[in-house]
Amino acid sequence: MIEFLNFYLIPGLVLGSIYALGAIGVTLTFGILRFANFAHGETMTLGAFIALSLATFTGWHPFAVLPIAMALTALAVLGMDRLFFRPLRHGSTIILVIASFGLMLMVRSLVQLVWGAQLRSFGQGIDLPWVLFDALRIFPKHVTIVCAALVLMLAVHLLLSRTRAGKAMRAMADSPDLARLTGIDTERVIVTTWIVGAGLAAAAGVFLAYDTHVESQLGFKLLLPIFAAALLGGIGRPYGAMAGGLVIGLVEELSTYPWIGSEALVPPGYKTGVAFAIMVAILIWRPSGLFRGRVF
């Protein structure tokens, strides 16, 4: 039982909160700009590397430079939007998807040009956990990651529910045509969307890098599970994305638990497939997400 908590449930939660942060950006772009942004993974990588450089330069804790890294990443993404997405915004969706694919290639190779392909990390050595009740192992870094993720999600919640910009975003994600009719400044909403999505992506990248390490393909590796999370929550629903991220993170980890007998339920080689299988199943049986009908 305690093993289940230590090795399956807690790692699942940590991974899930990272997925959740990434998925918010995907779901907002999908909901408001109406395309699947393949460059979102590279945004995470970019954020993690920016934070790495800042942390190396200042010698501060990665979480101390996180706000600056988030801001810089958001700025970079706004620049990309201006150059590559905005000129195509009135064309068809598929053009935007292809543009985001091109951007994915560009950002990744730029990161490799600037920072190289080798892997780097914020800290060296291994962390030892706090051992509670002689059995439960809690890692300080995991506590900080989950707490920071919760703070960011709370901030997103406040933004969406308390501010005009947030309400406008939700309205647009729900129905862009109607939002336009009611006089919402769509360009401003789009800017806000990019800022929120890129900031959270940067945070997700930094958290993952803080837990493990960072290299040029960090974000790309997360892209598909994050798409799965966004779909699970229902496209255009930031709260759904948070929940979806947690569910995907948990299910990925729990799928290899020996639920029946002593063998892993899903052979670990297929672990990645679990997220995809859930995603496909959700699409087929509940295409509007797990939380259809619930008003968030």
Partner: protein, 401 residues
């Protein structure tokens, strides 16, 4: 504006094709590597090692009549499709004399079968370890200094047994190198009388492997045999295992041999707990030290995976061209055996001037590589020597007995 850019791109492409014509006084060898793609982080050091050999050649008199030894890069992306494309460019547009590399076994296999063998170009691989490379119908054109997984896997199993391991869990990344290795290792270890308590694949590039490791640790083996590349999953698995006290002892192979493993995990956490098998002349042997000193001087770590092999293939290609006496594709294959295999004047890494003089004098030479003595058999394979490394007192990879 955009039109201008397109025009500029077209002009640049035309220029590039034009520039492909070899300048006089240059001998081109293709250097195919998986620079982008899943093992990008390993390849940087590999390319640096190949370039170091070229620098040695050029600094010490160059090739043949003083020609520059040029390595033309080609990106094989660890994907046979990309490798065939890169190979076609190297062989046809760049008109290289020989090709070194291609890195991943699949990419090497594709490039060899559909480009280099039909064109009659020698391919000399530094990292392709799949047994299928030996089976190619290659007209004696495909060589490698990387040893086949079969041999390495059996050797590692024996060494593990000798170190007193009886019950081991195995986890391997689902790529060609590591999965093949795991298969051979598990069979050999069982044949010795050992027990494999669990043999599980893991998908590389995940953020956490705690769940898989917990399952493997459940059977309480003596240690974990970790077949992975350090970047895509190895370091994460080490970290997850140590932080959660799931495994304390590790065995592995050269895919894990990198300084960043020690940097990331910390020497103190690994000392006495990890042993990695590497096909290389024992540290301390003259050929290895010659290479290591030179490579370190360029700011690179000589114990990174496969860099010794990469240096060797680059140097060997130059030796073979020098021996053949001309930049002629057809003569390389025979010359390669002559310069690599005993007997002859022993040449160590970096000793280009000595080798050039010996060849000019008509002497037979025998290159002793950084990765091992290098004697090509009839299939173009070498018999490896392997060292087992642990973390030494100085915090670097050090041989253990």
């Amino acid at each position: 504006m955009k039109k201008t850019m397109i025009a500029a791109a077209a002009a640049a492409a035309a220029l590039a094709l034009n520039g492909a014509v070899a300048t006089a006084g240059e001998v081109k060898v293709g250097s195919a590597a998986a620079v982008t793609g899943p093992i990008a982080e390993l390849v940087v050091a590999i390319v640096n090692a190949r370039n170091l050999a070229a620098t040695h050649v050029n600094e010490q008199g160059g090739l043949l009549g003083g020609d520059t030894y040029t390595l033309v890069p080609g990106d094989s992306q660890c994907d046979p499709k990309a490798a065939v494309d890169a190979g076609a460019k190297l062989v046809n547009v760049e008109q290289v004399v020989a090709i070194i590399g291609a890195n991943c076994s699949g990419a090497t296999n594709g490039m060899a079968q559909s480009v280099s063998i039909p064109a009659g170009v020698v391919m000399l691989s530094d990292t392709a370890t799949a047994p299928s490379i030996s089976e190619l119908d290659d007209n004696d054109l495909v060589f490698r200094v990387a040893t086949s997984d079969d041999l390495h896997g059996r050797t590692l199993a024996q060494r593990a047994w000798d170190h007193g391991y009886r019950k081991l869990a195995v986890t391997y990344a689902t790529d060609d190198y590591n999965s093949g290795f795991a298969e051979v290792f598990a069979a050999a270890f069982t044949a010795l009388g050992g027990t494999i308590t669990g043999n599980e694949a893991h998908e590389p590039n995940k953020a956490s492997y705690r769940a898989e490791l917990a399952t493997l640790a459940g059977a309480e083996p003596d240690g974990l045999v970790l077949f992975a590349y350090y970047g895509s999953s190895g370091i994460t698995i080490l970290r997850n295992s140590l932080e959660n006290a799931l495994f304390g002892k590790f065995l592995g192979a050269d895919g894990m041999m990198d300084n960043s493993v020690i940097e990331q995990i910390g020497a103190d956490n690994l000392r006495g707990n990890i042993m990695l098998s590497q096909p290389a002349s024992a540290t301390g042997s003259p050929p290895y030290e010659a290479f290591a000193a030179a490579f370190e001087a360029t700011g690179n770590a000589p114990d990174a995976p496969f860099v010794a092999h990469s240096y060797d293939v680059s140097f060997l290609a130059a030796l073979a061209i020098e021996k053949a006496g001309s930049a002629d594709r057809g003569a390389i294959s025979a010359a390669l055996r002559e310069v690599a295999n005993a007997p002859g004047t022993v040449i160590l890494p970096g000793e280009w001037a000595k080798a050039k003089a010996a060849i000019a004098a008509g002497e037979d030479i025998n290159y002793e590589g950084a990765s091992g003595p290098i004697e090509f058999d009839e299939k173009g394979d070498v018999t490896g020597t392997y060292t087992l490394n642990g973390v030494g007192d100085d915090g670097t990879w050090t041989p253990v007995m």
